[in-house]
Symmetry: C2
Subunit: 979 residues, 2 copies
Amino acid sequence: MLTMQDALARLTAYWTAQGCLTVQPMNTEVGAGTLNPATFLRVLGPEPWRVVYVEPSVRPDDSRYGENPNRLQTHTQLQVILKPDPGNPQELYLGSLEAIGIDVKAHDVRFVEDNWASPALGAWGLGWEVWLDGLEITQFTYFQQAGGLNLDPVSVEITYGIERILMALQDKTHFKNIEYADGISYGEVFGQSEYEMSRYYLDDADVAANRQLLEIYAAEAQRLIDAGLPVPAHTYVLKCSQAFNVLDSRGAVSTADRAAEFARMRRLAGDVARLWVARRDEQGHPLGLVEALPPATAPAAPVAKSSPRTLIFEIGTEELPPSEARATRDHVRRALTEGLAGTRLEHDEVRVFATPRRLVALVPSVAAQEPDHVRQVRGPKVGAPAKAVEGFARGQGVTVDDLAVGEFNGAQHHMVEKQEAGGPAAEVLAPVLAKVVSGLRAAKNMRWNDPQLSFSRPIRWLTALWGDDVVPVAVGTLSAGRQTRLLRTAAEPTVQIASAETFMETLALAGIVADPEDRHDLIVTGAQDEVYPEGRIDVAGEAALIDQITYLVEAPTPLLGTFDESYLSLPDAVLTTVMRKHQRYLPVRSADGSLLPMFVTVANGPVDVELVRTGNEAVLRARYEDAAFFYRADRNTPLPDMRERLTRLTFTDKLGSMADRSARIAALATSLAESLGLSSATLGRAARLVKFDLGSQLVTEMTSLAGVMARDYALHAGEPRDVAQAVYEAELPRNTGDDLPASIPGALLSLADRLDLVAGLAATVGLPTGSSDPFAVRRAVLGLLAVHRAHPALSGLSLLDGLRAAAAQQPVPVAPAVIDSAAEFLARRLEQALTEEGRPVDRVRAAIPHYARPSVVDTLLSQLDTLVGNPDFVAVAAAIQRARRILPPDTSAGYDPAVLTEPAELALHEAVTGVKADYGPDLVAFTAAVEPLVEPLTRFFDEVFVMAEEPALRAARLGLLATVRDLGAGLLDWPELRL
Amino acid sequence: MLTMQDALARLTAYWTAQGCLTVQPMNTEVGAGTLNPATFLRVLGPEPWRVVYVEPSVRPDDSRYGENPNRLQTHTQLQVILKPDPGNPQELYLGSLEAIGIDVKAHDVRFVEDNWASPALGAWGLGWEVWLDGLEITQFTYFQQAGGLNLDPVSVEITYGIERILMALQDKTHFKNIEYADGISYGEVFGQSEYEMSRYYLDDADVAANRQLLEIYAAEAQRLIDAGLPVPAHTYVLKCSQAFNVLDSRGAVSTADRAAEFARMRRLAGDVARLWVARRDEQGHPLGLVEALPPATAPAAPVAKSSPRTLIFEIGTEELPPSEARATRDHVRRALTEGLAGTRLEHDEVRVFATPRRLVALVPSVAAQEPDHVRQVRGPKVGAPAKAVEGFARGQGVTVDDLAVGEFNGAQHHMVEKQEAGGPAAEVLAPVLAKVVSGLRAAKNMRWNDPQLSFSRPIRWLTALWGDDVVPVAVGTLSAGRQTRLLRTAAEPTVQIASAETFMETLALAGIVADPEDRHDLIVTGAQDEVYPEGRIDVAGEAALIDQITYLVEAPTPLLGTFDESYLSLPDAVLTTVMRKHQRYLPVRSADGSLLPMFVTVANGPVDVELVRTGNEAVLRARYEDAAFFYRADRNTPLPDMRERLTRLTFTDKLGSMADRSARIAALATSLAESLGLSSATLGRAARLVKFDLGSQLVTEMTSLAGVMARDYALHAGEPRDVAQAVYEAELPRNTGDDLPASIPGALLSLADRLDLVAGLAATVGLPTGSSDPFAVRRAVLGLLAVHRAHPALSGLSLLDGLRAAAAQQPVPVAPAVIDSAAEFLARRLEQALTEEGRPVDRVRAAIPHYARPSVVDTLLSQLDTLVGNPDFVAVAAAIQRARRILPPDTSAGYDPAVLTEPAELALHEAVTGVKADYGPDLVAFTAAVEPLVEPLTRFFDEVFVMAEEPALRAARLGLLATVRDLGAGLLDWPELRL
């Protein structure tokens, strides 16, 4: 059996043979090999660097006392850096797997999108998790930035998760059973340390001491930066990171702390990086400079042909993220269609296919040659001065006599007509295809060893054939050829294509299904076939997942796996979250929709099905075992104990623990209910439980299950169903479009939760600006609006009052100005939401003063939908608007009726006096109430001159008008309404 | 070329093949691989453990900005632990050298005594430095104790110094030029880090921050110990150690700090070790238990023979320290002689030879058989009760009739005579030889894989032959045979010996010179031959070194090396200190005694002379290059700058810097000189310079050169010769038997130095007790005495006054009681010294009240040597003693002469009145002065009854006697003197 130490030695030897240095792990605790200066510093700057090293990586947060079979506070990474990108790092990587005895042809090895970012290091890169039969064994990243600096050249970072790989290779279900060396297990070597360090990180580390350490380390890092010493400064940044992680695992880091610490570390890491680069510059780059690859030269143009032929253009990439593959397919179709339109080559319709590794454009019947062509060059208008005409002719190299006259945009111009020969297909196509490639852009782009190109993932080859001929495309360092690449595991991974017409067939014969629709169908039917007859796949329900899978494989090989029925005792949400989110497995259901103990995974290519099935089953088993472990432990924990754990979870440093927060939520929900007459025993009990599941182990692991687990655990503990439901609903909505609380107790808790969050954070860290929303305040505000709008029964509740009540409960003072800002923020979000729902902007703005009761705004907007067609409403509204225009702003509604003289004004006075203003914020009632004013108002405006010279009269008329104006007070912001 | 990373990989692979685990370096800074828990914790307890790992070892103190070719703040250790001792670790180790291409047959590989101890870890072990052609490449230790716990089983620790090995293999003169990997140098990979971390450790580390860190780490370690978690506690002990080392390299650790920190770390490490052992016990020793080797069974006894034969008994060891080999040789001779005397085997004289690897006893003509023998068993005396006689007979298994009578110690006893047959040689010899082995003891003993034995180094084989027969010795796990081991590099390292008579010849043929006298002669003549004709070896002057070398090799191969003449510009003391102390090379001198640029090293066995010479020359070159580098730098540094550096050297935390201390020395020496009228310009200038060379780089490296370098640098800087000499002499004596200051300025500075040290340390850390003397206070006191005694011109100086003056200058208050204690200490040391010099104790005690002026004591003792034979002195002395016995202690010397009546008393009165007491502390003058009293005193004591009844008369007589008594006051403690 390959032992762990042998595996490390073999991988090291493999990479050493690839020209890598071997260095030692960092001699201060690091969370990952990336932090070792052999990566963090060496990826910076222009010097080449290849290195391989082992890095025991410390993650205090992953401490499990050695009990969890898959989670360790210290796991072993093997880290490889290739700088610059050698052009074939994926292939080199697969070679390393072979070096430790993994038959990559038999297994399902996949590159699954995973973009890596370390905010604390100002670092990011694009790349993949590498999956071995569903098990993540490696992180593979093209490092784009570190310490906030763009990396040029780009480094390839390959990080192996050694324990996982060894568990898979040795078929072990607990890391402790890994055979570390001959006859000695991992547990025997590291078990005690795993337990004791877990104790330290979870229970025994002194919080005050670690806080002090963090400050000392940060100060020392800063001093060393000031002294111009990046190397020791970097070690202190690492020590900061470790001290922070210890505090975090001890539950002593609030959200605000985290943000502040990350900002500090990012700043320090950035300074370190800049200093390092400067030092290496000063030293003249002792390791030399990476030479940029030269631009490709295009192949020779073929001899011109005469008959139309098919054009095939393949852009070969490393595995694209599904969304990018889809978007790029559309882009290529559009760009190629437009590009061809710019030529005079006749052709049939452009079709484009996409897989994770290629974009294939297929254009049948592309003419061999553009037709010859007369090009008209426009000169001065006819009648222009002779000098201008002469100048034009000279410029075109002709005499004035050679000029013709033509019509351009309806005007007569002098012009030259030039005879142009049509180009042969290959030569005409080449620049068009090159432009398609250079124009590729993704939502997030990266660079690799090609100095010209930038895209979602590296572009590694171009195949361009028009009939039998290579189209002489050259772009960046790539020149097109007739060679394509098949599956990496194929007997011959690259083949020569004789002619464009045989290209698709070659792919198909190699098992590659280029057309996504075909792949989709193959996946759906293949999956169904696998599970038939007991099970079925919820194709509609899993549409998003299936769509994703379609772009994860080129040669879909659905295969069925099973898991132990006992896991079905876990909540469905747990089972499906793991399957979908973590593993991209399709859940299998029985006819009645209940989950069956099986799943479908879709491998890529002709794998050893038994091997791959077994591997995937093991992965799922491990994940479910984890979940089941937590679930059992949680269910054995009394609810009060779980809730008690909230005292150890910091919400933010200034806003206390999660226990404080849940107490505030409970108090607020209760008082809101009282004020609305909506108190209930259900609410009372649910308020005492709210958020308790944040203290559960399962939710700690899978935070997306908050609320869902609360309901489960509450029911299990014997709580009434409506109480359990309310505790669940308190977490709703978890994101835009999520379910909303259906019950009043649930809705009140949900509102109280979000009011508390907004009031507290607005007062301490401020409201979100721009697109950043680290504390999810924006999401909370949207939740407030959505819940309120969904519950007419709560229309009496003012969110502004709620905010004030929440503010009064905060452990910090909340200034009135803060509440004003929060209210303003709420109003703006509501306005935006309503506008996005298609409500006319003017009406939204008119109704928005009621933002504090969003359901009232909804009602007003609905009424307006009708009333804007009601002449009575329109007339009164217009009158109110007119009154507001005429009236000086400070005009009050009182007037002396005795001064009035004109019949029209007397009539209006009478009508106004008759209106009973008891219609509340109800435009229908308002319209009914003011209907008697319509006629007198028309008359008044027709007949009465408001600004009479006599002051008393004028005052009375203004007062009368102000009275009319005030009938609309508290209803709408009338001037906003467009009538 | 074998690159450094290849060497690490090969060594790791070699040891892995020997069953070692591979683990990773520690992820917190450690000073050595020993600190990694894979050593420190795993050597504890009864579980087996074999491990190999690389450990980048951080020594802040070795920071040299990467400039020094051989010194790095981080060097690479490869660490191997073999637990239990496999029995052949040296051979395994030599195999590892072969694995990296070192031909151990061609090179001179030596195991040179080096006992390792880490006070801070409560750890020690015995073993060697391994030398490769004079270069220390490995530390090889049998680990005996860790964390204050005895280790059972013992572990073998092998620590390779990788950079040194690679520099030698690659023939590089600077570590930066080591080829780390193909085409990439060590400097390119680590150079910048070496520079920057040096900056941190030497210049930029924040002292206050690191002090804080030290305290936090220590507190956290303690908390974790209290929590029962040895693993995290250990990491914090390591962090303590690093923080301490950083403070040390910043010059911020005083002697007192150091002692206190070591004590704390030792305590913490001890607690960690005990906890670890307890935890492993609780866990039932997951790795199992080491099984003790079974005791050996003796070979079958041979058939009895008839003729006398030679006995050869060889005890084969691993390399013994020279002093132990020598002492053991004597022990074996004694033990074997005694053992044989306890048998009745006739034999010739016992001769014993010793080499580093064997003790060989040779006894010619050992009889084949003991003679038969009648043994007399003594019973009761003749005349004893019959019952007793019967009882005796019964006890002896005979009847009363069988008893005989014999004389024992002149009395007649009943007795039994037993006939005893003599034993055959082999059987008689076996227990005798076994007892010789089990009785072996060294000054410092160790254990290895033999549960029964304990010795200076492991005993690995026994060869015991009497003639052709193996003597059936079995002791511990060893049983004797006829096999011996030759040089490890021999073609056949083990051979069978046919008979004892051929043994010595076999060794001799293999090149092993068993007899130390022969080896000594071979070394001396061989060395002389090598250097002839230009040079000569100072055989007498280098006697101690030659004696040491004699016991470092079995097969001496003297060979000549040269060094560049330019190094001769270094002071002789530097050159010879390096040669003798560090390298055990014999310096070569010309006829006029000046050093020649060559040396003789003595290799062991038939090496490749050219290779070994080159290697040794490179080592010496590196050492001289180091020294020359420092020497040049120092000579380019103005003396005031060097002295300025003393402000950065802490003396002790309470007693200020070394600059403070040298200022105090200067002030004290000056004031002492003034009080004695010995001021001079020389002293004035020397006082301003004193101790400046502690600020030099060379003395920082080689502290034994303090003073010597001061003289050199002072002369170089143009100081007058007598000033330079005085600054040198200020450091004398450096140890017992060292030169003393010859000049008065030198002596005054020397005294002032020591007075300051004693006064300050007595007040702060106390005087030394027992054998421990961490601050060398005892040595300073001995220096005070020696210097004072050497200078009659200083006899007027009271060291007690000097102590008081020194005390007054200390930055801390020095209580009078402290000065009293110091004075008492001084007196006791003087008393001890004089006694050890052979002075009679009574006289020493009589003169010791003058301890504050030791030279006065010397004078008094010299006078006493003569005066104890002078009847006048004796008479007066006896009278004084008698007076002191008679007189009540408070009797004063005044009396009324008018009361006296008797002629004898009147005569004495007259004589006493005539004595002029101006003789000072001079017994000769005293004797001359009191001579007239002799006769009157005799008469007085004969005739006068002192205790007259009449009170006035009695008072006068007592007063008269008191006056006589007081003539001796201030001279001696008279009652102590035996007359």
